[in-house]
Structures are given as C-alpha cells and as structure tokens.
C-alpha cells in the first residue's frame, strides 16, 4: 500500500548562505495492508521528514514514494489532494484550523469533503469524540483553545473518522492519559483489522510494542 524506493531528501537554506542539509539517502520501505510499521531512530535521523514526504507535505528529491498507486514524486497537487481525501489519513502533532470552527465540524470535515451529508458526518464525528472521551461541552468550541491532549484527540478523530486504506501517525499517543491512550491503540488495531496500512512515529515504546508489526530504523538512511 505504501512503498518508498531509493528516496533522497535534502534542504537548501538559501537565506543562510545556501547551506545544504542532506537528510535522507536511499530510503526504502514498504507497508502492506493490515500492517503497522514504526519509524525509529535517533532524534534528527529524518523520521519526521520521511513521514512528511509520504504525506506529500515535503517534496521528494530523488527516488519514488507510491501510496495507493499514486507516485508522489510525480503526482500533481490535485492528485495528492485526492489521495489525502480518499486514501491517506494523517494524524499530525499539530492542529491547524480556522479559529471559530467547532471541534465537531473540524472532525466531520474530512467526511464532508468526501460528500457525506452533514447530519451523518457530524454523527460519526460525535461518536468518535465520545469514544475519545472529549468532554461534550467542548464539541461546539474551537479546538484552538484546547489543551495539548484535547487537541491531539481532535487530530486523532480527524484521522480515523474515515476508514482510510493508509494512515500516517505522528506521535499519536504523546500527550494522552492512559485511558485515552488505550482508546487510540484500539483504534489502530481496528484500522489494521480492516486492512489499513499504517506508518507511524511512536516514541511511546509500550504503544509501539502493542500495535506495530515491524520497525524501520531511519538511521540507516542518513547520508
């Protein structure tokens, strides 16, 4: 479902004397449907960079990344957007939303973009927020005012509200209490059970052991 082949990546910092930073070389991995793979390696090894490249957020300098049949190294923005809408879910550590949109609508939005009617989208979003124990009074408020753990649960709900065939998780349990951490691990297990291919970064070793089938050491790809 997710294939990374011979990928290289660097950054040129034009405004800092044209400094060149090489981050990855010859990166390769594959994630099959129903499989959860963890990216591991020391801080700064390029885990985040690789995850962002798979998401289409960072450009690819060399090699190819194919997700659900779409080659991200050559795909047009329109194709990447469609991939994200239909196939590739993403749970980020950061929440970027329009300040006044209520949490419930933030979570329902990926479904609305897929053409799911408003009622149904909100019902599915509500069910998920309920499961993640987000206090009901918060549902109608903008998540921009939420605590870190609350924002993270909104992000998680956004990533799981649609049964994406592929999922990218960036520290999905980082700021969660044990109860909600267990809920997220259940969500990941359920996604695997329905055949989702999952690639993630988990600093939480317990979580990694609980849901991940394999680990890929990104340190191997450091140039």
């Amino acid at each position: 479902m997710i294939r990374v082949e011979g990928v290289s990546k660097g950054f040129v910092l034009h405004n800092q004397g044209g400094a060149r930073l090489a981050v990855l070389r010859d990166a390769a991995l594959a994630v099959r449907p129903g499989e959860c793979v963890a990216l591991v390696g020391p801080s700064g090894a390029g885990k985040s960079t690789l995850l962002r490249m798979v998401q289409g957020n960072y450009g690819i300098d060399g090699g190819r990344i194919v997700v659900g049949g779409v080659d991200l190294s050559t795909a047009s923005p329109r194709e990447v957007l469609r991939l994200r809408r239909e196939t590739l879910g993403w749970v980020s550590q950061f929440l970027r939303v329009i300040p006044r949109v209520p949490a419930l609508d933030v979570v329902a939005e990926p479904l609305r973009a897929l053409g799911v009617p408003e009622e149904e989208a909100r019902a599915r979003a509500a069910a998920l927020l309920g499961r993640l124990n987000l206090p009901r009074p918060l549902w109608d408020l903008s998540p921009t005012t939420f605590s870190g753990g609350e924002q993270q649960r909104v992000n998680i709900a956004r990533g799981f509200v649609h049964p994406y065939p592929a999922l990218l998780l960036d520290e999905p349990t980082a700021s969660l209490d044990p109860v909600n951490r267990a809920v997220v691990l259940d969500l990941i297990r359920e996604a695997k059970a329905r055949g989702a291919a999952i690639l993630g970064i988990f600093h939480d070793e317990g979580a990694r052991a609980a849901v991940c089938d394999r680990e890929v050491d990104v340190g191997r790809f450091v140039p």
């Binding site: 962002r52 450009g59 923005p77 300040p99």
Partner: protein, 256 residues
C-alpha cells in the same frame, strides 16, 4: 474532463515595467488557488487581467463556458465577457465599498445580478436575496438597510452574497480578508470554505497573508517581479519551500 480555467503565458507590461510575465495555470472546479507575493509582485495585475479589468499584452485564458465549452476570454467580444462576468464569474474586491453599491439597500445589492440576467419578479428576487443574506450570516431583517450602515466584515459578506447569487463557477478574490479584524477574518474564511465545498466553486485568491492561503488554498503560486517562482500544493510550498524568495517569505512570518 477539462479544467474550468486554463491560463497560458499571461503577460501584462506597464511601459517598460513588467506587471506579470508568462504566467500560466490550470484551475479545476472545487479548487482554490492562492497567489502570494509582496506588493508589486504582479498578483493583482494577474487578477485584474483575468477579471477583464485590464487588457493583457499577451497570453490566453480558456474558460470552460456552459454553452460552448472552452473559450479564450481574452478574445471574446466584450459583451460576451461582461455577461460571463455577471453570471458565471465573481470578483470579490479587497475593499467591499468598491464591490458594493452603497446607495442602495442590501437586498438590491444581492438582487442586482438576478435582475441583470432577467429576473423580473420582485417577490422572488427579494426572497432569494434574503436567503443569501442568511447564508452569509447577515440578519435578513436588514435586507432594506444600506450597506453603509454595515460593519466591514458584514460588508465583505454582503459582497460575497452579491457575487454568488447567480451561482458563478469561478470566483476571483483580491485580498478578501485584508483590513478585517482577526476574529472577523476567521468567520469569513470559514464561510468561504463552506461555500467552496458546498457549491464546488473554483477560486483564485490573491493575498499576502500566508495563514489565509494555508487555511483556504489547495494550491499556491508564489510570485515575484511579475513571474511565478514556485508553485505547488499549499502545505508543500509553505513547509518545504525551494525558491530563495519563498523561503524568505515563509521565514518572515511572525509566529503568533
């Protein structure tokens, strides 16, 4: 499928000075294209050429008309282009006072395009105007008030209603959130995003506000000195900028 708008090699000069040069892009239904760059980078020139307010010196802009398929709007008879401009296109200006008729009521402002395309039933025009006021979150009870009595944010929403009432497919926006309070901006962005999604609008939005682009635009073009220096998926361009100018632009934003 064909794009709604295909722009090729659009060029406009002001004497020896370049307004914009060799600009091209495709725009598909439901897609929001952001154009960013500092003042004088050519983004407003580009928009004004597309809107028919400024004749280009060269280039083509093929719009997929409902009746006759793709037509080059730069080579269309003026009457035809103006008819498109008040039916299938919308142009939302930065200053709502430039895009509204301040000496007639909100209802008349919204109803104008309907009357321009032949609506002749007062009751029906008024009902449609009221529906649109509600849709842009203006109390329909204010239908007979003049826009001069509205706040800046309300005026901008009224301008949007006035433009969208004929269900245009292409919307051009010039800094639509400029000059508005931050909280008012958020409301407008939310509204625009909902309209884009529900009506399948294709939007070209010119702005220097990268936050607006991130929240609204699917794709972004970065302009400098009249040329496009970088373009692509919005978050890719903003998070992994390649061109020196884009890097400068992104790194110049003060984090809140």
């Amino acid at each position: 499928m064909t794009p709604l708008l295909e722009v090729r090699n659009l060029t406009r000069r002001y004497g020896a000075r370049t307004g914009c040069e060799g600009v091209g892009f495709d725009l598909w239904p439901g897609e929001v294209l952001g154009i960013v760059g500092e003042s004088g980078s050519g983004k407003t020139t580009l928009l004004n050429c597309l809107a028919g307010l400024l004749p280009p010196d060269g280039g083509e802009a093929w719009f997929d008309t409902r009746e006759a398929g793709p037509r080059d709007v730069f080579r269309m008879p003026e009457g035809e282009r103006r008819r498109l401009a008040r039916t299938d296109w919308a142009f939302v200006r930065q200053n709502p006072r430039d895009g509204l008729r301040l000496n007639v009521s909100a209802g008349a402002n919204v109803g104008e395009r309907l009357m321009a395309v032949g609506a002749r039933h007062y009751g029906a025009i008024r009902a449609e105007a009221a529906r649109w006021l509600e849709r842009v979150e203006i109390d329909p009870a204010r239908i007979d008030d003049r826009p001069s009595t509205f706040s800046g944010g309300m005026q901008q929403r009224l301008q949007i209603a006035r433009n969208l009432v004929t269900r245009p497919r292409l919307v051009l926006m010039d800094e639509p959130t400029g000059g508005l309070d931050v909280s008012v901006q958020a409301r407008l962005l939310d509204l625009l995003r909902g309209l884009v999604r529900d009506l399948g609008l294709a939007v070209v939005i010119v702005t220097h506000d990268l936050a607006v682009v991130r929240l609204l635009a699917h794709r972004v073009m970065v302009m400098k000195d009249g040329r496009v220096v970088e373009e692509g998926l919005t978050d890719r361009v903003l998070d992994d900028p390649r061109h020196p100018y884009t890097q400068l632009l992104v790194s110049s934003v003060l984090a809140a």
